[in-house]
């Protein structure tokens, strides 16, 4: 049988040592809701599991200036119910609660959810071609069953959608990701953390194999409190997004002073739309301009056989999110 080492790391340094020793074969494990699933399918086959649950990364604390620092091990359910998150970043709380099931949210961690792998059926079935799982093997989804797949940020090597709801909210909130390696810490803007597939769909983020996510900082924001997450799906709960939108607005009277817009279900990575934001700023918060922003957000969308409906649905989803946030729905 395949030999699997399990190591419970006492601190970050110990975890990083283990990860660095065999960076291609080791995997950190938090809640395990995604990793164990993929190991059972033989999609991920680590030789060493480095359990990081003992690391002191389960805190949510205020940082100077009013932002929040969230530890990588904070469980989705705890984060969703945190009073400061609910008060200042309702979009994040809503996105978390829109995802998975209560049991999964009780286990899933912030860090793990940032790195959640795609739900593409061809990625999960090892008998099928998948450039993400096996670089160079091809992409069976391009002309296969792609109803759930991305229309933005796609390439001819991969169209797998990023499945996380939480990520969409973090993309809208100007979050930054804290990463620690043996050589030290660095911070990456959340919207630069994930990579579009391009020619290397196997490379999903800027995180190096010997690095750990330690947390996320949400900056203070005057308008994140006016924020909403709208998710459209095939059943009322426990379903991945067909489309979703995370929106934050700052209004001056009825005019949009600032906007944050991110989309889910349609991007190969959590999809921040600066185009939509630009279309909104300085304009009246009304349906006409929301529709214009939605047009801008989906410009350049490249649908395939089964997911063509997502382009218009994403626009409608964004208009709904903007309308709810502006209080005109």
């Amino acid at each position: 049988m395949r030999h699997l080492d399990y190591v419970a790391a006492a601190d970050a340094n110990a975890a990083l040592q283990r990860l660095s020793a065999k960076p291609q074969e080791a995997a950190p494990i938090g809640g395990g809701t995604n990793l164990l699933d993929l190991m059972k399918l033989h999609v991920q086959n680590p030789a060493v599991l480095v359990d990081i649950n003992g690391l002191p990364l389960s805190q949510v604390r205020e940082v100077e200036g009013g932002g929040l620092r969230i530890g990588a091990l904070v469980r989705n359910s705890d984060l969703a119910q945190h009073p400061l998150v609910r008060e200042r970043y309702p979009v994040l709380s809503e996105a978390l609660l829109a995802g998975a099931s209560p049991q999964l949210r009780n286990m899933a961690t912030l860090g793990g959810n940032i790195l959640q792998r795609t739900r593409c059926a061809y990625f999960r079935d090892v008998s099928q071609a998948c450039n993400k799982r096996e670089p160079g093997s091809g992409c069976a989804a391009l002309d296969g069953y792609n109803r759930m797949h991305a229309v933005l940020g796609v390439s001819d090597k991969c169209i797998a959608a990023n499945p996380s709801d939480m990520n969409v909210a973090l993309a809208a909130l100007d979050a930054s990701v804290h990463v620690q390696g043996l050589k030290g810490e660095r911070s990456v803007p959340f919207i630069d953390f994930h990579l579009v597939p391009g020619t290397h769909p196997d490379k999903e983020s800027v995180l190096q194999p010997e690095e750990l996510i330690t947390g996320v900082t949400l900056p203070a924001s005057g308008f994140a409190a006016r924020s909403r997450y709208v998710k459209v799906r095939d059943r009322a709960a426990y379903a991945f997004a067909l489309t979703s939108a995370a929106v934050a607005l700052e209004l001056e009277g009825t005019t949009v002073k600032a906007a944050r817009v991110a989309l889910g279900g349609v991007g190969t990575k959590p999809w921040r739309s600066k185009e939509a934001e630009a279309a909104l700023v300085g304009k009246p918060a009304d349906e006409v301009h929301f529709k214009a922003a939605a047009e801008a957000a989906l410009k350049g969308a490249k649908p395939r056989t089964h997911n063509a409906f997502k382009v218009d649905l994403a626009r409608r989803t964004l208009v709904r999110a903007l309308s709810l946030t502006a209080g005109i729905a």
Partner: protein, 733 residues
């Protein structure tokens, strides 16, 4: 004394189930059990060139790797069937590959983990052919099956009307591939003691499994024992033994140890059947007043390359409405997939989507109320056989469900009813399912403590068999249910039919009732026979049994005292029950109706069912609680079939790419509203000894059409292919 039948008695096995005490087939304690894991094919059609088992065999703990090269040969060809409902199985007897994920090797190891890992190391080389995957594309090569469920594939009833049609409907409805997905995966634990085989199997048919295994292994049926104490849902997928059952027994023989084989969830999307895709063309012609002149229902569905299953979608069309002429046909195309099978209301669930949607389309064209249209065409006798109904309460069902729902307040104009921006839609449909029974036997035994033990080798699929049989036996014996222990699920018990076709309560219940009454009569005969006994000389007909006491006037003797006085360790009686001549004199069906409300988001297309009222005439209700649960379960499954259930077949590989319960959607709690279920009182002296009609399947029939009709009412959009997902709701705008 109070009778028990009809009362909402809680499940007698409920405590066992919620405490984990109920042992399912994969949990049966067996010393030294080892584990088998199936290697599935990764092509749909072709042949195996070679199987490299070296790496797998070298793994620690691996006991055997069976392949078509070295698997023990079966005594009989698994392509030949012992019973028409048997499935052709793939048990490593040939190198032929006929569907994706077909078993091509089997790894047996001392632990499940070792077997699973070793199975991943088996390398199979194939010569692949081009699979056939498209029902529509294969339609020119469609063939007419010899029969559907023992009836002709095609029927032409009545004759063409000379009346002029005022309205017509001609539309094609499509239902997708669906998988049963019971919570409990298929599981088999097989062990040999010499030439005797014991199989703990999760099955809806212990006796069918026994017969099939006996034939395939060339041993008499008495040498095979099949046990199944609990089933975690079957819905038809456990009706007859599939490949894994045979493989488990084969492996147990090869390694000479008890072998457990549990299917992985993704294997349940390939090896144990499914509801096939159907393409159904429905043509209706009606007079101005709604009278149907013609109903024409032509169904094409798929079967496998190596076996035959017909989804009989036209079945209910033959009997549901009166029409001058009714013609139905069924055609099959052969695809490179596993064999489809019975899935909850096979034919009725898929067929009523088409028929009941088409009727709604006709009602719209005629500007007629959909209920009025159905009443206008109410079949007062069975259009298929001409026989009178044994009982039928459909008109009353429409009335009480419509009243409870508030149907009279419906504005028929599509899009006219709203709650804020949300569109409301009200739709309805008829439900129907035949009342079936098969021969069944049971045995009842009185014990010295005055309690009774009743046996029938049947099954409890989670339906409540343990509970309702306890009630039936208790009433017949004159005991309270707590004094009756009913047991089932073992071929050593009296023979019963497969638990399919909603026939268990009717078939087994009738036998249980007869055996219990026979035992009661035996006890009475003993009680009155002996001089000196309390009831000596009393005519048997004047003795009643109340709460375990034989009573006549002031004279009494209880069961325990009787057995003690007679020095008996037990007293028993057996009986069989089966249909008599009434089956050829009456048409027997359960009928009902669904009224549903949907809420549709006009911008996002999301549909949620917000209200659901159903009324059913199902003869005697044996247990008000478990019966309601049966109908609830059927309706919830209908909501799933309507709104979300679909398995995607990749047209390039013929592989089902939906492989888990995160992607295969069934309703979750917020998808299901409060469901109001009304039983219309119905007394049926003809159907069986209990007067009970089967209720396991009628609940799902018609639900899809009621919801599709409600969506049309909400939006003006007619969607003719299931599931009714939001992209379809938005696309037709």
């Amino acid at each position: 004394m109070d009778t028990s039948v009809g009362k909402p008695l809680g499940r007698v096995d409920g405590r066992l189930k919620v405490t984990g005490g109920a042992k399912y087939s994969a949990e049966m304690p067996e010393e030294g059990v080892v584990h088998a894991v199936i290697v599935g094919s990764t092509i749909a059609t072709g042949s195996i060139v070679s199987v490299d088992v070296k790496a797998a065999k070298a793994q620690p703990g691996v006991l055997a790797v069976l392949t078509p090269d070295d698997a023990p040969k079966l005594a009989a060809d698994p392509v030949k069937k012992q019973s028409p409902t048997d499935m052709v199985v793939h048990a490593l007897q040939s190198r032929k590959v006929q569907y994706q994920n077909q078993p091509v090797a089997l790894v047996v190891a001392d632990t499940l983990e070792r077997a699973t890992y070793a199975a991943a190391l088996v390398k199979v080389k194939y010569r692949a052919g081009k699979p056939k995957v498209d029902v529509k594309a294969e339609q020119p090569r469609a063939y007419k099956p010899k029969q559907i469920n023992g009836k002709p594939a095609d029927m032409d009833q009545g004759k063409a009307s000379t009346d002029k049609a005022a309205a017509t409907v001609d539309a094609t409805y499509v239902t997708p591939y669906e998988h049963h997905n019971p919570m409990e995966p298929h599981a088999t634990l097989a062990l040999w003691e010499g030439e005797t085989l014991t199989v703990y199997d999760t099955t809806q048919g212990v006796f069918g499994t026994r017969a099939r295994l006996a034939a395939l292994f060339g041993i008499p049926p008495e040498s095979v024992r099949v046990v199944c104490k609990f089933v975690g849902g079957g819905f038809g997928s456990k009706g007859s033994p599939w490949s894994h059952v045979v493989l488990a027994a084969l492996a147990a023989k090869a390694v000479k140890k008890p072998v457990k084989l549990v299917l992985r969830r993704e294997q349940m999307f390939s090896q144990v059947g499914f509801r096939p895709e159907t393409q159904q063309r429905l043509q209706l012609q009606a007079r101005e007043d709604g009278k149907l002149l013609l109903v024409k229902h032509d169904t094409v569905s798929c079967t496998s390359e190596f076996d035959e299953f017909v989804e009989p979608s036209g079945k209910s069309t033959r009997m549901l409405y009166a029409s001058d002429r009714i013609t139905t046909s069924h055609r099959l195309v052969r695809l490179s997939v596993g064999t489809p099978t019975f899935m909850r209301a096979p034919g009725e669930a898929s067929g009523t989507f088409a028929l009941e949607s088409a009727l709604d389309e006709l009602a719209v064209k005629l500007k007629m109320d959909p209920v009025a249209l159905r009443l206008k065409n109410h079949a007062d006798k069975d259009p298929e056989t001409g026989h009178p109904w044994s009982s039928k309460s459909l008109k009353e069902c429409y009335r009480v469900a419509g009243d409870r729902f508030g149907w009279a307040k419906r504005d028929p104009t599509p899009g006219s009813m709203k709650d804020g921006r949300t569109l409301l839609g009200w739709g309805m449909a008829t439900a129907t399912y035949p009342t079936l029974r098969s021969k069944a036997s049971a045995k009842a035994t009185l014990l010295p403590d005055g309690t009774a033990r009743v046996l029938a080798g049947s099954h409890d699929l989670g339906t409540g068999t343990y509970t309702v049989m306890t009630q039936v036996a208790a009433d017949a014996l004159g005991l309270v249910p707590a004094k009756v222990k009913f047991d089932l699920g073992d071929t050593r018990m009296p023979e019963t039919p497969v638990s399919g076709g909603s026939q268990t309560a009717a078939s087994v219940g009738s036998a249980v009732k007869k055996a219990s009454l026979a035992l009661r009569d035996k006890a009475i005969a003993l009680a009155v026979a002996d001089p000196g006994a309390p009831l000596h000389g009393v005519p048997a007909a004047q003795v009643t049994v109340e709460n375990g006491v034989l009573v006549s006037g002031g004279k009494r003797e209880d069961f325990a005292a009787l057995l003690k006085r007679k020095g008996l360790a037990s007293l028993d009686a057996e009986a069989s029950a089966e249909a008599g001549p009434e089956k050829d004199q009456y048409a027997m069906h359960a009928f009902g109706t669904h009224f549903v409300e949907v809420r549709v988001d006009p911008d996002l297309g999301e549909v949620r069912v917000s209200r659901c009222v159903g009324a059913f005439g199902v003869g005697t209700v044996l247990n008000a609680k478990t019966a309601r649960s049966q109908l609830l379960g059927g309706i919830v499954m209908g909501i799933g079939m309507a709104l979300m259930e679909e398995t995607y077949l990749d047209p390039r590989s013929a592989r089902f790419m939906t492989q888990d319960l995160a992607d295969y959607h069934v309703p979750v709690n917020p998808d299901v509203p409060d469901i109001d279920i009304i039983f219309v009182p119905e007394s049926d002296p003809h159907v069986n000894e209990l007067g009970a009609k089967g209720i396991g399947e009628i609940g799902i029939t018609g639900v899809t059409a009621a919801i599709a009709n409600a969506i049309h009412h909400a939006t003006g959009r007619r969607i003719r292919s299931l599931p009714l997902t939001l992209d379809k709701v938005l696309a037709t705008s």
